[in-house]
Symmetry: C2
Subunit: 297 residues, 2 copies
């Protein structure tokens, strides 16, 4: 897992060997704004899975500064009740600021947990942003967790988040406005076109209330995807993204690590600052150099 | 601008022609969580610039669903007081879900406004996420706007946002906790290593309070970057990112639009789903096909 996170080339050969063992785990994405109680809900959902004799792998994606590189929350301080359970494995992953990289690394973490025969994999994203949307592309069932007070911001959030959810959860539903929030989500959903209208559930994560219903909804969604064979579409698009990213990363490395191109790039940047060249011209030149290098790279 | 937003190839040649006219505008990035009052502050800051006889270009980056494609807020409903001012130009830009693309398009919008002799360019990002951080890389002065109530979430936000700010603004500072918030930011800043410790200011955007100080702080920061020649570093890194993105986009197109590769990709995806191949193997094969095509592409 550390090899994957560090994008070490050894990870590739390990994953390549293990890949044929994958394909059994159900991959669940849990996302939503900070403070929605996602961690607690993940903890309770994992316990529910264990109760049904399923093994669980949890991947937490921490928001990391692209500048300082440190994860805010470590897995040590989170989900304390699960740490001693042999059926649950938890791994936090720092995001390192590279977005394409996160989606790929998360997919690879899931593949690894899948190969080690976890029945359920829960991917939790901390914080809001593109990461959430990317990660949803890896999950088979995506759960968006909101709180009653999020009403004000639902207009802002619905872009993206509304479309990726297979299940909505209004957590901390003992607070004021929970039913209003459920209705608001439902009314937004009604305006849209779905093959299957997402379920909206209420939970109280800290008390475990509604978690059994959430578990059932996940199984229902799993059945739906399998019966309609929509699972194949989701897998196709995930795999396509993954292959594309691996190839592009490889090509990018070949291009930007080439000493001739490095040299040219630095010269061009100076030229541009001094007004003697434009970025577009520089890009054309670099492409030409690289093309000339051709098969030799 | 529409050509840029649509990534039309004609934009490239126009920008290439106009590029030599750029280099005069000071580029200011304004970012922060939704509800911090950024739009109002941008409006008042633009008015302050006009008062000093400077022309202003404003680029608003709207969060757009990568699925539905519609911007939430149009420029029509925003910053109404500025619309009739001939010295202010406002353009909203939908983000279309492509992240690298946003940074490049924003940079190009700024180049265009710069070529048309705007003195000040204000880039406002709506919503939180990677976009904010990317956009900060384009600005010369980055302002992070927070509100007194954000205290709870400052621990979450500081990842990334703390490092990109040249100036912090605690807006809506007539509310409770404004001074506490200022102190909290300052105490976090003290723990870090800076060449120049970011300024922390209080404003009340709706009343225009503190906006003159903000304007002065921007000028001070501009002087600082020029005197220390740090502006050159910022420009180098922006230009490098831009060239890299143009080249990579061009290569990616060449690769993925190639009919042989398209065909192979689809076949490989099927193989992978049926357990006969791995994504890593598929990526290697595609790279090999593409390398074989070599100079012919």
């Amino acid at each position: 897992m550390t090899l994957i996170e560090n994008n070490d080339h050894k990870a590739k050969s390990i994953l390549n060997t293990l890949y044929p063992r994958t394909g059994n785990a159900w991959r669940i994405g849990i996302t939503g704004p900070p403070g929605a109680g996602k961690s607690t809900l993940v903890e309770k959902l994992a316990m529910e899975c264990v109760k049904h004799n399923l093994s669980v792998g949890i991947v937490c994606i921490d928001p990391t500064s692209p500048f300082s590189g440190g994860a805010i929350l470590g897995d040590r301080v989170r989900m304390s009740s699960l740490f001693l359970d042999p059926k649950v494995f938890i791994r936090s992953m720092a995001t390192r600021g590279s977005l394409g990289g996160i989606a790929k690394a998360t997919k690879q973490m899931c593949d690894l947990l899948d190969a080690f025969k976890k029945d359920i994999i829960i991917i939790e994203t901390i914080g809001v942003g593109q990461v959430e949307l990317d990660v949803a592309g890896i999950a088979f069932t995506t759960i968006v967790v909101l709180v009653p007070e999020a009403g004000d911001s639902i207009q802002t959030m619905k872009a993206g988040l509304m479309e990726i959810a297979d299940i909505f959860v209004v957590n901390k539903s003992d607070r004021d406005g929970a039913d209003k929030m459920v209705m608001e989500i439902q009314s937004i959903l009604e305006m849209k076109d779905f093959d299957r209208i997402p379920v909206v559930l209420k939970t109280i994560g800290t008390e475990g209330k509604g978690v059994t219903d959430l578990y059932k909804s996940i199984l229902e969604h799993k059945d739906y995807l399998k019966v309609t064979n929509k699972i194949k579409q989701r897998m196709q698009s995930t795999i396509q993204t993954e292959i594309t990213e691996i190839v592009q990363e490889h090509i990018d490395k070949q291009v930007w690590r080439n000493p001739k191109i490095k040299l040219a790039l630095n010269r061009f940047i100076d030229n541009i600052i001094n007004g003697r060249q434009t970025p577009y011209h520089a890009a054309d030149k670099i492409y030409a150099i690289w093309k000339k290098l051709g098969r030799k790279i």
